[in-house]
Symmetry: C2
Subunit: 319 residues, 2 copies
């Protein structure tokens, strides 16, 4: 939760002269997004989010992300529409950094999803996968399964510092994935960060998804695995198979899963837990002791990994 | 710029059941306010700011602040109106902390005020002073001139660490104020933090003031002195007498100054610079080296103090 780039009234006014969105009425930095600076902007024409992309986002990926958002919005998927300036440009520059204006998407995220929320969220994810089918942009998933072994190579000591013996356990996970990862599942554009804080509800119904800045081309079912890790675990670390089944049921309202996808789901979710464990471990290792901003706890995902190593009874089996 | 308290969707929903403001549609933490956590809330009935008061605000002062805001809004001053719940209560509790809901006030603050902005801001401050006349609440200014010598007593070494010899210079300032501070100026409710980020404009006109959490009973002209320090210095540290004169001209549209107030203004502004220097020095001294959140630079106000020690030619003299 941060605003890294400070925008003055004069910079904002100059930025908006390129657009047909009227004059600014209110402008506030919002405490949302770890990777970017986000501002709520109200103008005489409507409400928008202004995003300034910070150093963790690769500039070369921005046309893919913004193109995807544009495609989704143009095809009726409830997500924030990027706003083009008068010359048709979506990706702009502000204070020397890449920046974009998107329409404000109302909705509330939920902290502790219910079974009903999981069903809605599952449907929202399948809707996203289906809507993205016609999108021609491609981006390799830099955090996909092929990246984990090289990522972990330099982190073994950090893993053992976090929990003695953990490095060997992770090596065993990696060996399992190297041997068993399915290679012929249906692929497409995945959200890759479909966590509860990126999904909006109104009156208990799914009303939209935001934050497409990890989206990539990968196994569609891997996106389900990542989402189930985020949506279907209790605060005490227990897997909630009822919520996971509801997520899948909701998903299949829009996109039925193949037998191969269902069979692979426990392994994909296990791998997805490793993916989030690894990026959290990177952040944790890079943060000096005593820093005021604490990174997310990697051990939350190590606890999920431990659950996956035991197996998820009932998960992925057609109910 | 921070959000210290994290509010879940369930806590928000429970909080709103006490109010007649409909159901939440959107809710975002805003990166504004150093002392409190602020959230932008949109409901089916309108838009609001939810403030959760953090430890730096004294709970006993909240009825004064909120009562003042209520008085100002009820008497037509453009400021955020506190919203009462169904039982008439304005000061509520959320996550065990004091909290209040106020109407959203649109407008943009300016980073580099022009002469015209200063004139408008001056008028807005006098309007505030006049509107607060009927408010019966009282709060001693805990950061008023009587507090500075005791505050500085424990900070002399920090001042010298910041700049060698500074402690002696500050002691000379304090001696000047002890001898010369005017004791019979018109008193009233002052904003006490009337900085550009707390004042909103639309189309170059003053449209409102926010953040009354330093308001107190003190010399009205002391509020002008504080404001002039914030509005009428150039980025290079030069005093801008044209802007200061415009601020006073704007002020006098609503409340003419007495001869005694005009004559006292240079000393009051000098004292106000010390007040902000001292609180920044306290924060600076309390922040560990290497912390990611940097406190505001006390030397910015030491540079203003140096300007005041030289005198402000033309300031306060009737133009």
């Amino acid at each position: 939760m941060a605003v890294y780039t400070d925008i003055t009234d004069q910079e904002l006014e100059a930025f908006l002269t390129d657009y047909d969105v009227g004059a600014a009425l209110a402008f506030k930095g919002i405490a949302e997004g770890v990777e970017n600076s986000n501002f709520m902007l109200e103008t005489t024409a409507g409400r928008y989010i202004l995003t300034v992309y910070e150093r963790r986002v690769n500039r070369d990926d921005l046309p893919f992300f913004l193109g995807l958002m544009q495609h989704l919005a143009a095809h009726g998927y409830p997500s924030a529409t990027p706003i083009a300036d008068r010359s048709g440009a979506i990706l702009k520059t502000l204070r020397g950094k890449p920046a974009a204006l998107v329409a404000f998407l109302p909705g509330l995220s939920v902290r502790r999803p219910t079974v009903a929320h999981c069903r809605e969220a599952g449907e929202g994810l399948a809707w996203l996968h289906k809507t993205a089918e016609g999108f021609t942009g491609r981006r390799v998933n830099a955090l996909g399964h092929g990246a984990w072994a090289p990522m972990f190579a330099g982190l073994e000591a950090d893993a053992d510092a976090l929990k003695p013996g953990l490095a060997a356990t992770i090596r065993a996970d990696l060996a399992l994935f190297a041997k068993s990862w399915p290679l012929d599942l249906p692929k497409g554009v995945i959200h890759a960060d479909y966590f509860p804080d990126n999904v909006f509800f109104a009156d208990g119904r799914f009303v939209g998804a935001i934050d497409f800045y990890f989206a990539a081309w990968d196994d569609l079912a891997f996106d389900i695995g990542s989402a189930v890790n985020a949506w279907c675990f209790e605060a005490d670390g227990e897997f909630n198979v009822t919520q996971a089944q509801a997520f899948l049921d909701g998903y299949e309202r829009r996109r039925p899963l193949s037998q191969a996808e269902r069979a692979a789901l426990p392994l994909l979710a296990h791998g997805a837990a490793l993916r989030f464990f690894l990026t959290r471990l990177v952040d944790w290792s890079a943060t000096p002791a005593g820093a005021l901003v604490r990174p997310k706890d990697p051990l939350e995902y190590e606890r999920k990994l431990a659950v996956h190593r035991e197996g998820l009874p009932g998960f992925g089996v057609r109910g």
